[in-house]
């Protein structure tokens, strides 16, 4: 991380974000409980940085990304963002008109290249839609801008009159990227953008994301479950479990000296492209906790081999254990967990 980071105000600062989905039962649809999809999430992202948000299905990472953009309405919390036009604003508080403005600068790319493009729109209509909806460009200027963005993402401008079905998965992700970049944003939520792609295509798209970040000064929130991809592209990584952040650290530090047992288990579980037998393997028992009915105390305690009584009774605090390295675990200071190097042996 650059030295400037401590002097700059972060581009995005999320404080105690919550997204609860009510569970309704019965004829009168009474609320009987909540699925706490995102539960008190706090993070910050500096300009030109890539923050990774990792965790398994149901941990709340996708919901977190969408709540930050207000694609779904957060239940509570603050999302401070440095908008180039409006200045520093709380995205969670904006009215409709202000929200339309901020959507020029905060954009999203999606996981499924087959579901995220309207099959009845041409590429020109897809990429041009944000520009015409936001009254940024029309007519010839619009076409020129579309051609410019398509070239930036590695597609030929002549393709703009074709429909999505004519393109492969990797090309479709490029189209989705073009659509996100059309209004010249500052911040991009990348929601599992390469998980559905073949290995060789994945590499191309990851390189493209890095190149665009350097050329356009973009900031990314990179949501993913593949730790190898995250290790490659992210500057810092946050690990989520059942709606809560359990660890946050610079990438290298997270992978060499993790503090949370769940992080260690995640790293250990990754199939490694190396056929030599591994000595140490952490295999978790049981299933991921249910966000509608989570365990008491620390949500991870039923699956944790290091759990003590306090873990069952008291929820741990998310605190800075060493400079820049945060962890939500009662035993963070005592445990010495295996990092990626040891797990690779």
């Amino acid at each position: 991380m650059s030295d400037q980071a401590s002097q700059e105000v972060p581009l995005l600062e999320v404080t105690e974000l919550k997204k609860y989905f009510p569970i309704k039962r019965g004829f009168l649809k009474r609320t009987v409980g909540y699925v706490k999809a995102v539960d008190n999430l706090s993070l910050f992202v500096n300009e030109r940085e890539t923050l990774g948000l990792v965790g398994e299905s149901g941990c709340g990472k996708t919901t977190a990304g969408r709540s930050i953009l207000r694609a779904i309405e957060p239940t509570s919390g603050k999302v401070m963002f440095n908008d180039p036009i409006m200045g520093r604003v709380n995205v969670a508080d904006l009215d409709d008109q202000q929200l339309r403005n901020v959507r020029r600068s905060m954009r999203m790319i999606f996981q499924d290249p087959y579901a995220s493009l309207n099959p009845r729109m041409t590429i020109m209509e897809i990429v041009g839609a944000p520009l015409s909806a936001m009254h940024i460009a029309h007519g010839k200027a619009l076409e020129d801008r579309i051609a410019e963005i398509l070239l930036m993402v590695g597609l030929r401008p002549e393709y703009m009159r074709r429909y999505p079905h004519a393109f492969s998965g990797g090309q479709r992700q490029r189209i989705g990227l073009a659509r996100a970049l059309a209004p010249n944003p500052k911040f991009l939520v990348c929601d599992e953008p390469v998980s559905a792609l073949d290995v060789s295509v994945q590499a191309q798209i990851l390189n493209l994301l890095q190149d665009l970040q350097a050329d356009l000064g973009l900031t990314y929130l990179f949501v993913a479950h593949d730790l190898s991809v995250v290790a490659h592209i992210c500057d810092r990584v946050a690990v989520m479990y059942v709606g809560k952040m359990v660890e946050l650290a610079p990438t290298k530090e997270l992978f060499t000296s993790p503090m949370h047992p769940y992080t260690e288990a995640l790293m250990s579980a990754i199939p490694r492209p190396d056929p030599r037998p591994r000595e140490k393997r952490v295999l978790l028992s049981g299933e991921v906790a249910n966000p509608a009915d989570p365990p008491s105390g620390c949500y991870f305690h039923p699956r944790c081999i290091f759990a003590k009584d306090i873990c069952k009774n008291e929820e741990p605090v998310f605190e800075e254990v060493t400079p820049g390295h945060y962890c939500k675990c009662h035993r963070a200071r005592e445990l010495s967990l295996a990092g990626a190097i040891e797990l690779m042996k």
Partner: protein, 348 residues
Amino acid sequence: MPEQSTLVDIKGLQTYFHLAEGTVRAVDGVDLQIERQRTLGIVGESGCGKSIMSLSMLRLVPPPGKIEEGEILYYKTVKQENGNPSPNLADVINITSLDSNSPVLHDIRGNQISMVFQEPMTAMSPVLTIGKQITEVIEQHQHVSKAEARRQAIEMLGRVKMSRPERVIDDYPFQLSGGMRQRAVIAMALCCRPHLLIADEPTTALDVTTEAQILDLMRNLQAEFGMAILYITHNLGVIAEMAEEVAVMYLGKIVEQTSVKNIFFTPLHPYTRGLLQSIPQLSDAVARHDSKRRLQTIKGMVPDPYARLKGCPFHPRCPEMIADVCDQVEPKVTTPEPDHLVRCHLYS
């Protein structure tokens, strides 16, 4: 003449799809042998033909696909009392020549050769309980009472480490998590102790910690049942964990085949090398510098499946293409090292 150790022998398989726009040669001349009790991995990206090849083995290719040429020979042995296969050859069955209604084919599917598919939700009927779906398989292949079939189903669910099998057996698929559904599908595939399990991307839709559990489970069951596994995936990490022997496919053909160690440490085909280089590795994070490094990529894309390229199908993307050779003449399979096949002009 293949040895007794061969379970399935695929010779010159060609499965084509004749469409209005042209012919897609999904499987275009594949020779492959699956050995008893061993795990063979098939690696390839979308469109390489690996799934169609496995469907061909069970004669499940959806129309308009058709097996045009080639033979798939199954070396059937009797099952011993413990359910494991005996080494004594009972019959050689040519799967490709069987009638689609043949009772021999019916006996093979789910009983001799079973399959586990990628999406556990779509592989199971949403309107039947787990128990009904497993007992249905048992009742098709064994003459046992309903009570006995149910008992076997519960036992199998226990074997696949399903928590509380007596309860889960009466649950519907939607009531189970992804990992549990995949265990149920594995239980369904293994309930008749097949000699070969074809697993087509069984863990791609699962979380990494669940995937690790399922892979561990499959290895244990393989040892317990003495069965062979054909493991199909595009994930090289999973291949390293599961396979003993690996075949790499590109555009309907096998381009390299050898032991798993050789594939990772001495890959010969430029496509295999390109694949290995393009994977982001955890070691990247450990050796991290401030400037981000780029991944090596294979330039270009998989061509249009209707396109007919002259010469080697990989040549437009190959960093080591030899002009006037690779773009003119199709390479033949050679064995530059013992037990290491490759289809590339660099080695002929």
